[in-house]
């Protein structure tokens, strides 16, 4: 049995049961593949022991790139490449460069962060996701357990753990 093929899927009716269930399942030593929810559940990251996202840092770095690009561009163009007297001001005077610098900072931070998010989360328009249970975008929370990674326990045992954790139903899901 290879990993990422055969799963047991526990269906939870609401987020309180789910959060409670996650800690119950994890306390038995079972590894959770992922939990799919129709909306963001607060506290699920702690319950699953997920590390904080580093996307804010990526956004900051993209923003910094935008700031430096914008300033370099404006100072080089109007200060060095083709100096022009505009209203008798300095060729490279900083204050009028601030608006464009700000806008490009925001633009690069936003686009860079969203692109990073798309890439790390593997979101792409031509991908058909593996659906563990189609109700996970409607009203159910779905917990997937990879059978290959939990080889120590039998299917029946895992199924019982999920039921005890509050799952309203447990289904088997196999991907080719």
């Amino acid at each position: 049995m290879t990993a990422d093929k055969n799963f047991l899927v526990g269906v939870f009716d609401n987020e309180e049961v789910l959060l409670d269930g996650i800690s119950k399942v994890r306390s038995t030593g079972l590894k959770i593949h992922d939990v799919f929810s129709p909306f963001p559940v607060h506290g699920i990251d702690d319950a699953l022991g997920l590390k904080r996202s580093r996307l804010p840092r990526a956004a900051f770095l993209f923003g910094l790139t935008g700031t430096s690009l914008a300033l370099t561009m404006q100072i080089w163009m109007l200060g060095y490449d083709w100096p022009m007297i505009i209203g008798g001001k300095n060729f490279a005077s900083l204050p009028p460069f601030i608006p464009v610098t700000f806008e490009l900072t925001v633009l690069l931070a936003a686009l860079g962060m969203v692109a990073t998010f798309m890439i790390v989360s593997d979101l792409k328009p031509y991908k058909w996701p593996r659906q563990f249970d189609v109700r996970s975008t409607d009203d159910k929370h779905v917990m997937a357990i990879d059978l290959a990674l939990n080889g120590g326990k039998s299917k029946e045992e895992i199924s019982r753990i999920l039921k005890d954790a509050g799952a309203s139903e447990v289904n088997e899901k196999n991907f080719e």
């Binding site: 609401n14 992922d34 559940v41 806008e103 490009l104 979101l123 996701p129 659906q131 975008t137």
Partner: protein, 468 residues
């Protein structure tokens, strides 16, 4: 876990379950649209076609067909540009600023408001592009690309160039923010289509949802992205109308050369934007039967924002008048005397009535809670805000320093036609959005609906306690 006071009114009424939310919102995408939708689309398309004819005429003959003259070189085009950009601001305020302030009532109105933002910014952008005369060269002129006749660059000292960057950044970031919000909802529609056996719809909405699954880690990242986009959009939206106001404020024209322009324009933008959100949502909630999601409570809160921003705008008008007298600058004084008393006084007093007096009616709770009154006032506010821009622009220009160059501005059918064009564009886009996209953010509303339903269930119980 967030704690919400049990005293607060529920945001979603009718005791909806999570499943009801999916059903109520998705069914508009799945079902055939009501007859009223077709009728509205037909009217919008006719208006759009007429406007397109006028725009094509302007492009063919040049902007000489407009009513501009040597003295008034800017009139309806820039008025309409500022008006549309201002309308866009409410969408970002709702989705970004209210997110940072954790105002949950934004959840059922942010999707439509952001859509309005995007369409309004597109409408706004058409005006400067067409005013360039040869709009196919617009990007080449406006962006910092080396000039064909030498390596001249764009002038970064000009607020008009700042506008290019501000508006295009604002458009891009709003679009991305809106689309990120749509992704999980597209996945909901896809999965419903899978269950219903509609393979084409499933494939289309899967592509639109970027193969969204809603895993725990993805949701966590998604929330981080939404929060930072909100944090970025907040100063962005304030910067946009600030920079738009600098188109005027950095010039030395009496009536334009004013330091209060940036905050005054931003308040005015939010004021008119909320009015447009109300106009659109009051219709949408009836046509698509969304009264349980966009409740009278939402309408009241938006009306309160209209009172606040309307009052800020009113104070700004009075401050401007006072300062023009108090400064002792003759030209400044005359510019305002001419606004109040001159040939465009009718525009000035329309603006004062619509923007300063009419929103004050919302202090009366009965008016604030009345759908008909809100609808009428929302339209009056937007008429007033159009006049505000017209007054600022045309009355400051038409009486130049030398009386021999004094003129009046008279719009031609092409000035009017281009404005009509943007209405056709805006409403066509909004109607298509309302049919093919989920008009309410399902994922966000689902996260509050359970506690609300419990509240609705408990409400009789609370009353009992009060009576006891």
């Amino acid at each position: 876990m967030q704690v919400t006071s049990s005293v607060r009114d529920p945001l979603v009424t009718g005791g909806k379950t999570v499943k009801d939310v999916s059903h109520d919102i998705s069914r508009h995408v799945e079902n055939k649209p009501p007859r009223s939708w077709w009728l509205a689309l037909a009217v919008s398309l006719v208006v759009f076609a007429y406007g397109l004819y006028c725009v094509c005429t302007v492009l063919w003959h040049g902007i000489g067909v407009w009513g501009l003259n040597k003295t008034v070189g800017w009139a309806w085009d820039i008025t309409n540009f500022v008006w549309w950009v201002g309308i866009g601001h409410a969408g970002t305020l709702i989705s970004a600023i209210l997110l940072l302030f954790r105002q949950k009532w934004r959840m059922s109105i942010n999707r439509a408001a952001e859509a309005m933002t995007i369409f309004a910014v597109i409408c706004a952008a058409t005006f400067p592009l067409i005013h360039m005369g040869r709009l196919w060269l617009g990007f080449y002129w406006a962006l910092p690309l080396p000039n064909a006749f030498g390596s001249l660059w764009a002038n970064f000292n000009s607020p008009l160039l700042w506008d290019v960057f501000a508006i295009s950044t604002y458009f891009t970031v709003s679009l991305v923010f809106w689309y990120i919000g749509l992704i999980p909802d597209f996945a909901t529609i896809r999965d419903r289509a899978v269950v219903q056996g509609n393979q084409i719809r499933a494939a289309v909405y899967n592509a639109l949802s970027f193969g969204w699954q809603g895993g725990a880690k993805t949701w966590m990242r998604y929330e981080a992205v939404a929060l930072i986009l909100a944090g970025l959009s907040t100063p962005l939206v304030l910067s946009v109308h600030t920079i738009v106001s600098m188109d005027f404020a950095t010039s030395v024209i009496p009536g334009w050369h004013t330091t209060i322009f940036p905050p005054y324009f931003v308040a005015g933008a939010i004021f008119s934007g909320f009015a447009m959100v109300l106009t659109l949502l009051l219709i949408t909630r009836v046509v698509f039967k969304l009264e349980d999601y966009i409740t009278i409570y939402h309408i009241e809160l938006m009306n309160i924002i209209i009172i606040v921003t309307g009052s800020i705008v009113g104070i700004a008008y009075i401050t401007e008048l006072f300062i023009s007298w108090y400064s002792g600058v003759e030209y400044e004084g005359y510019a305002f005397y001419n606004r109040v008393q001159g040939p465009y006084a009718w525009a000035y007093w329309s603006m004062m009535t619509c923007n300063v007096i009419s929103p004050q009616l919302f202090w009366i709770k009965k008016i604030r809670m009345s759908i008909v009154a809100t609808f009428v006032l929302s339209i009056i506010v937007n008429i007033g805000m159009w006049f505000e821009r017209f007054v600022i622009i045309v009355t400051s220009l038409h009486r130049d320093y030398i009386p021999s160059s004094w003129t009046m501005f008279h719009p031609t059918m092409y000035d009017i036609g281009e404005y009509v064009f943007t209405f056709g564009l805006f409403f066509t886009a909004f109607l298509l959005f309302a049919k093919f996209f989920p008009v309410i953010n399902m994922a966000e509303v689902k996260s509050i609906v359970r506690s609300d339903s419990e509240k609705v269930g408990h409400s009789s119980h609370v009353e009992e306690e009060v009576h006891a």
